[in-house]
Homo-oligomer: 515 residues x 2
Amino acid sequence: MYITQSLHQMLQQDPHRPLTVYGDRIRTVAESASRVSRLAGGLRALGVASGDRVAILSLNSDRYHEYLLAVPWADAVITPVNTRWSVVEIATALRESRARVLLVDDTFNSIAEELQEQCPELTTVVHCGDEACPPGMADYEQLIADSEPVEDARRGGDALFGLFYTGGTSGSPKGVMISHNNIMISALGSLATCGFISPWGRLLHVAPMFHLADIGVWSMAMLASSAHVILPAFVPRDTLKAIAEHQVTDALLVPTMMQMIVDLPEASSYDLSSVTNVLYGTSPISEKLLQRIRGTFSGAAFMSAYGMTELSPIATILTDADHETPELRRSAGRSAAHSEVRIVDADDNELPRGSVGEVVVRGDHMMLGYWQREEETAQALRGGWMHTGDGGYMDENGYVFIVDRIKDMIVSGGENVYSIEVENALAHHPAVSACAVIGIPDEQWGEKVHAVVVLHPDHQPGAAELQDFCRKTIAGYKVPRSFAFVDSLPLSGAGKILKRELRKQYWPQEGRQVN
Amino acid sequence: MYITQSLHQMLQQDPHRPLTVYGDRIRTVAESASRVSRLAGGLRALGVASGDRVAILSLNSDRYHEYLLAVPWADAVITPVNTRWSVVEIATALRESRARVLLVDDTFNSIAEELQEQCPELTTVVHCGDEACPPGMADYEQLIADSEPVEDARRGGDALFGLFYTGGTSGSPKGVMISHNNIMISALGSLATCGFISPWGRLLHVAPMFHLADIGVWSMAMLASSAHVILPAFVPRDTLKAIAEHQVTDALLVPTMMQMIVDLPEASSYDLSSVTNVLYGTSPISEKLLQRIRGTFSGAAFMSAYGMTELSPIATILTDADHETPELRRSAGRSAAHSEVRIVDADDNELPRGSVGEVVVRGDHMMLGYWQREEETAQALRGGWMHTGDGGYMDENGYVFIVDRIKDMIVSGGENVYSIEVENALAHHPAVSACAVIGIPDEQWGEKVHAVVVLHPDHQPGAAELQDFCRKTIAGYKVPRSFAFVDSLPLSGAGKILKRELRKQYWPQEGRQVN
């Protein structure tokens, strides 16, 4: 299969229906396809050859959608860049992928010059914003207007569809190579497992389109002949307004977005009854928030998925029916139709149900590998299974429960301690503003539980008070033995705490192996 | 992907739930998987090597289901044989496929000896019936009891899953090579397009399991974690009883079966409310029958699919919503998510909407080819499209309407005449018991419309009366110019009229090209 297949299908079946909605701009399937074929022609005219990488650094827009189709149409490889990264990180990804062309919108055109200086192979920057095209850049609309349409390359199967740079928390960014079949199998398998997207509906894009979570749902919506209602970024009020105005049927939301929606005083004044599916990624979501957001979208099925970029991206799904069982709401769900999931020990032996080990996943949605990193690819895909790095267990019915990142698990006196559990306990103390729990060397216990804590300025409890507090909710061996009080925690570009930075000072270079 | 993947998934998620129901015999997922792995071991012990063909000649049963899984588990190739064929036809398929092992049930064990005489490479016949094992055969249950389980070969992707002999109406049977990916893509794509099968439901098997129509739906049900309620063959009363007793949720029925169900006086006394999906293949179904069967299964969605063995098998789907529009009920539906469909002329140029040409289909569900028939494979798949041999047109919204087999279309004086339309007109005459319409050579018109008719014994109208009758419903140029009255029409094993036999006497050998 190939990613543009659905566009041809919609063109055959309903060319005059709206395909993208972005502010006041609505484009039909036929318009969109015509622009895509000419944008592909334009990319070719800019010297983009088969297999070349074409990068984008932009907030969400209908042009992002066109980019996702035009690049494969031209037989090139999409390379979406994380908009939250620093210039240095972005330049590293562009240099490593050897992107020839970069698309930037109004928000990011100011750093384009700096990126070009740092990336000698980047020959052209295309301005895909709505403001005037800055000097030295090619104009997106002009490129479409001036270019003849080209035939769709219709490359598919194992050909490279995209390079997705993942990031930050475990070393320098790696380019994940995803083929056409990878993403199509994840999309078809997820649709087959639980519907996931309403056929001929309208999908909301407020999650960033550079991320494979959104592109994955986008690819499902393409297969389902949906329209795409696209907002530049998540703003609670704008989101509800767009849902009501465009009768959105499907929405991918992360828990932070859900929280902001339910906290909006006038939320109930919008007509949200068109929403039939709310999709969210597996990340801790409180019972209370889930209950409130289900009240807000009272007509919707709620489904969550667990996966990662390397899995194109979906491995397991928690269906709406699963949500009825309280204990399952903490679960990542069960393997989707296309996906095999196991829990294994450090030697890749499958573990009995209930035992915590690493979650590994196999199937045709497994990435081709990491771009130009053979060793890391071999390590990640050893034995034919993608090693997720997530620690978890599986219950008797195949439901997967994620407990921690494997490398963040602490083994103290033979007991497993999950840093997340300790962090959750600590975070409930009113004085704790942020915290991270890591294992540090200990002669007696091998590792001991160590907490790095940012306190609220007006409340300064000591270690003993925090230990007592923790002891009320978690077992004694999980309570931090030592504390460091700091002003701030080191964060990745995506806002994740960089535990490896915290560990550095405690572990000698030849010490604890952290990937 | 690979066909046994779903069995492993069910084993992980719900091993103790029933997987097959056959009469009083109910087997759980775990039992079924254990038997499959030992049957695979047994096949290996019988000398079945990787890629060997293992044939089956049997009515439907739970053992048929085990066969469909055990053969790929042993890395061999399923070769289901049409139970309606003559011994000569069956022997031809077995010889051509060089099957080493054949499974037969009680209904067919009487011809096993004859088949073995005609097929020197057939070393073992396994009796998979419920009666005593005839001498000279291996006993299915004994084979399972005596064999150690083997590991699943887990071959998938482009590896050969099955050889499906199609046949009869257009020459000698051809073995269609279907890969694991072929069937999985058709299944995933169809599920993704319109649900098609209820997740965790119960699928009824009354259509013959040797046919890829049933195996295709079976593979979807495997992906959907369904149970299988299996009847040896279609008997109206037994079917309704089984639906009510086992709370069947999904049923594949052909129009003939539907007719027999609605004609059953006590149909309304069965509780059929569990049925949520009724699936049927695209074949002429009257408005009246559709209305009656929708009344019988009043809680069900009705979906029909068009395809062929060479397409694993689904190309287009008419959804339940499509059924609401009267004009669409004659349609074969629109391309499913995995499938590309076009209408082309004899030179493979795409035709405008509304023009009749050949229906061609492309996608990863397209067969690998015909077994040991390179030339016919190249011809069927020329240009990368499967040429279905069906004549049809597409409307403005991508709905496909099948009008006739391309080779049965008659071109008379530059006008296309569809034999089916003329046959439908003729068949309404009370004296006509059966008829077939073909084109025969004509100096003036190129071809002329010729009808071969079987009359009811007590009513013998002449050609003129039949012509007058036709003229009331079809245009003058479509009315048969000549008639032949015969006692019976030549039929294929599957009950289709062999028009090539009828044409033979009219066309010199070097004449009309009929595939």
